[in-house]
Structure formats: C-alpha cells, structure tokens
Symmetry: C2
C-alpha cells in the first residue's frame, strides 16, 4: 500500500489566524483598550444597538468603532453621524467574514491608542464570522425577536463562541412568536457560560444592563494592564 | 526578473461548479421539474413562506423540498409535518453555502422524477449562497420587513443573482421603519429585471401573486421539455 500524505489546510489557516488574534489581544490589553467583536444575522439591530450604547457611554469613555461591510459604508457613516465617535469602514471585498489578519490591517489604519473601548461591528452573517478569532477580548452576538427562538439550534457555532447574547427588538414581542425560555435553554445547552440580556434599543429597555456589562469588561481589561 | 506563475483557484472552482450546475438544470428541464433555490438571511421566514406556498399548490402539483442546514433537521421536519410533502434535510457540516456538487449529491438520494416543483431551501445567509449556482432554474430571495430596506445596499450580490425578491412579514409594517419604494429602487439599481412581491405568509396577503409566479415558472419549464 502506498503512503498517502494528508495536508490539513484548514487547521494551518486557523492556527495562523489564532496567533495573529492573540497578538492583537495582547496589544489591546497592554494599551488598556477593551476590544469587542459584535456579530449577528443581517438586520438584527447591531448598528442601532451600538449607536445607543455609544451615546450612553461616550461622556465617560473614549470609544472607537470599526464597521465591516462588503462594499457599502452606510453603517460606519450612521455610527459617526449619530454618535460623533471616530468610525472606520472596512470593506472586505465580498468575503463573508473578517479574520485576525484583516483586523490587524484595519488597526494599522486606525490610531486606537488611548481608547477605553474599541468595537468591531462584524458583517451580518450567523455562519462564517463565528469561525474566525478576530483578536477581540469578547464576542457579543445579537439575536432579534423577529428572527425566532430556534436560531441557536440552527447556527450553533455562533452561540458557542459568544460571551454575551443580546436578545434585541423586544419591543416587537407582541408581533412574533418568540419564547425567551426556549431561547435561553438552547443557548445555554451550547454555551452554559453565555450571559443573556434582553434589550430594545428603541425603547431603551434593558440598555442599562448592557451598558453595565461593557463597563465591567472595560474595568477588567484596565485591571489586567 | 524571475517569472511568477499565478493560479486562479477561485475561477477554476466556479467554472467546475457552473458545469455541474448546468448539468443539473438540463436534467431538471428534461424531466419537466421546475427547480428553485430559495435564499435569505436567517429568520426572514423561508420555512413559513414555503409551508404556506406548498399548502396552496399541493393539490394541483407534485412538489418536493430539500432543506439545507448546518446540523439541525428542524426545517425539513417542519415542512414535512405541515405540508405532507417529501422533504430531505441536507446537512452541510458547518459550511456557509451549498454548491452544485453538494446539490447533485443530495439529488442522488432523492427521487425527483415526476415532480412539477422542487424547492431548495438554502442556508440562512445573505452572503455566501449567492456565490454558487446550485443548478436551480431560478433564484428567489426573501427580505423581511424587520431586517430593513438597506439590505440590498449591504448584500448586493444576493440581490443581483435573484429573479424574484419576496418582501416578507409585511403584516409587521407598523412596527418597523421600512420604505418599500427605497427597497425597490435599491433592488432595481442592482438588478433591473428582478420581480418584487410583498407578502405575509401569516395573513396570506400577496400569497396569490407568489403562487402565480411559481405556476408560471412551472409552465415555462414544461413548455421547454
């Protein structure tokens, strides 16, 4: 029997990505910046949530935002217009995710020194972004009420890799059949440590708890410096 | 200067995929089956729409359904339970799309002879599935009101490759800021030939026009046999 050489391309790709991500994380920790990666399906309310979050925190913290989209610059512009913070649009040229190398290239264009909080708004996609460590300290995933409580069953990796799940658009509960308890059970079956918060960026409900989570994480990074 | 050899891996991958897709399409046409690929973001209402569509058409047409998900079998089971038609669950093992080769393997497990309509419910993702011709005659894309009218600007390829756009969940219009005219302009700027229909699978509004579109396409494939 002849010997067959097997090359594990995928593992090598991820190993290289993980090293680069670790380097980014170390740099962010050493400069006292909490770096957070925010992911969800398209239309879950990432930009609306982040705009409300930044406006609640910007008088007390120095905040920066980077926004990944295929080719438009709508979200970065919207965040910049509505909050006044510095926002960078990253065009990933048709790709379905952003990896640590792409994040590092974006960071080389953006002076993040002195920031307390740097937010990466990832591309709207529940599948691919979850596969790549971006170098963020924490991953946040949004699940909107109109999408349905079955999404953790269908996109499990996303809910495995996130530290915080924000159930968004809770002001529309009357219009949709969404069971919080089922959603919670499904998320915790995949990821028992995930924190879950219910919010509406429109009415403001639950926003105080989301702000507290971000403040706690900023304090944790500062304590580690 | 030494010469550099450039290999165009991506083009080769797509060329091979396109040949396989063309073969599937020819087979489907020759057996008189209209094969349609249904795509959207997670939670746009694909399964709800397809269940309502199949129930409206099943007394007059022989219909089959194939459902792509990463690892769950929820949607295929739901379609089978609610409509009684034969439904096949395809697990794509963590991938973000389905290509023609995967479709061909699924078709080899599913006797589609004699079907008037075969529906492929693609994985919930507005980015990757649009890149791969599955061998379907037509592509349908759903855009739900809660997602927002800006999605064509942010996920242009999806709206370029689709023949029909269904704007779904129009029963929730009072709750969301969604401008039909803006959505229409943005879709037609990318794809002037795309048909656009507004529907609610919950109230039934617009479902008659969607059924007519499917009936017309079935007739067109039968006429080409």
């Amino acid at each position: 029997m002849s010997s067959v050489r097997v090359i594990q391309v995928q593992e090598n790709v991820f190993a290289k990505n993980d090293r680069e991500a670790e380097r980014i994380r170390r740099d962010m920790t050493s400069q006292g910046t909490f770096f957070v990666n925010v992911m969800s399906a398209p239309g879950s309310g990432k930009t609306t949530f982040l705009t409300a979050l930044i406006n609640s925190m910007k008088s007390r913290y120095r905040i920066g935002e980077m926004d990944v989209d295929i080719e438009s610059s709508l979200d970065a512009q919207r965040v910049a217009d509505l909050t006044g913070v510095k926002s960078l649009q990253i065009h990933n040229c048709g790709l379905c995710h952003i990896d640590a190398d792409m994040t590092a290239r974006a960071l080389s264009e953006y002076d993040t020194k002195g920031l307390d909080l740097l937010i990466l708004e990832n591309i709207g996609n529940l599948v691919c972004p979850a596969e790549f460590d971006t170098g963020a300290h924490k991953n946040v995933s949004l699940l909107s009420v109109p999408e349905g409580d079955d999404k953790p069953l269908k996109y499990p990796l996303m809910f495995q890799v996130c530290d915080l799940v924000l159930i968004t658009k809770i002001d529309t509960l009357d219009y949709f059949d969404f069971d919080f308890e089922k959603a919670r059970e499904r998320i915790h079956a995949l990821n028992p440590k995930a924190q879950i918060l219910r919010i509406s960026a429109v009415t403001g409900e639950g926003m105080d708890r989301a702000v507290s989570w971000f403040e706690g994480e900023i304090a944790a990074v500062k304590a580690a410096v």
